[in-house]
Amino acid sequence: MSKRHLLALFNDFDEAVAAIAELRAANIKGFDMDDLILKSPIEHPEVEKVLGDKPVHVQWFTLIGACMGGLLAFFLISGAQANFFSQIKGGKPIVPLPPDFVLTYEMFILGGVFITVLGFLICAGLPAKRSSLYSTKVSEDQIGILVKGDESALAAFKTIFTKHKALEIQEEAGK
């Protein structure tokens, strides 16, 4: 059965939260709560709570990136020093630890930042094409709920949205 998208825009965040809660409670056939996407102009973790517990994995990228950065730097640098004609400088050991730690530290951060951003792009699914149902109002001041469901469920969605004072409901064109 084909699925269709529906986007509802709300002015009032509380109403949107209520709409989501109702959608969850309504247990509409042909609709999975995972198919609900909340679009919003600002970051508001307290609103997103209504969507349930959704894990974030960016920090794993951070950990790996930082460790890789640090390790790579240390071995690259000390390896380079050991193979640079074994040149003694200023009476210090050929592989001097304090300076190497300074650089390891810097590369630890650099690796961490770069891979975090990479992780962010992967986890957030960016860059992406915009979905067909998108309103510029979302980037202004309105909150949007994008749902995907069977054709049969559309009517139920609309009812709930309208009830919660949706300003506008956009519907994906049929196939």
């Binding site: 050991a82 400088k89 200023g90 050929i94």
Partner: protein, 284 residues
Amino acid sequence: MSITNLLENWSDFRQQHPSEDRPHREYKWAMSIDLDACTGCNACSVACYAENNLPVVGKEKFAHGHSHHWIRIERYWDNDGREFADQGAQFLPMLCQQCESAPCETVCPVGATNHTADGLNSQVYNRCVGSRYCNANCPYKARYFNWYDYPTTDNVWPEPMNQQLNPDVTVRGKGVMEKCTFCVQRLTVAKSNARSEGRSVLDGEVQTACQQVCPTGAISFGNLVDPSAKVGKQWKQQQVDLNKDKQAKDVTESAAKLRGYRILEELRTYPSVMYLEQLRESAI
């Protein structure tokens, strides 16, 4: 490969320098300068100009502190308000001290200055990017920077003066740091000759230009590793130890009669140049 090399020879790479347990193997070039013999005549400085292709910068640039005398004669007076400098002056030839633990080496961003196996503080002109950090960190200020392009734009050696240039020594272009090399071009030849004869360089076989010219023989130069070398004997007699930052003279009273000392030793640069104190007669 690098990592294997790193791990296998880890203790070698962690070795501090100078150290008693790992002395220089075949050569450790060192100098001693007898300030009682030095008359301040400047012959050494001119010899260095001739040997090492040092540019004559002229009055205006000299006034700006752009001079290039790898060995310079400093002249000190007694500054105790006496009416006349009646004990004469103290002359001191100052050149790169070829420190065993040279402050200039650690700070060079590109590794253009290094400690060689012979105990020299080498300067790789090709590698130098001209950050001048080495000079900033040299307590003796014995490093000289090419502030201008002396050979070309400054025309320091107008035809045919350029024919005098020593082909064994690079003519440095602008933006490069330079300093006394202990006449490394001469050392290289001597070592190469000795190697082809299956021996080490003998004492007196190689002289630096300044040493060679010095009319009073105030400068001794040689290989500290060689027990027969004059310079080594001098160091030993003066109880100046390459690897120490405090010598017997500074520590024990009975050694107060020794003349040997190294300049700014407290900075732990471990210089390879020992100076012998000037003497003055007290009967007059």
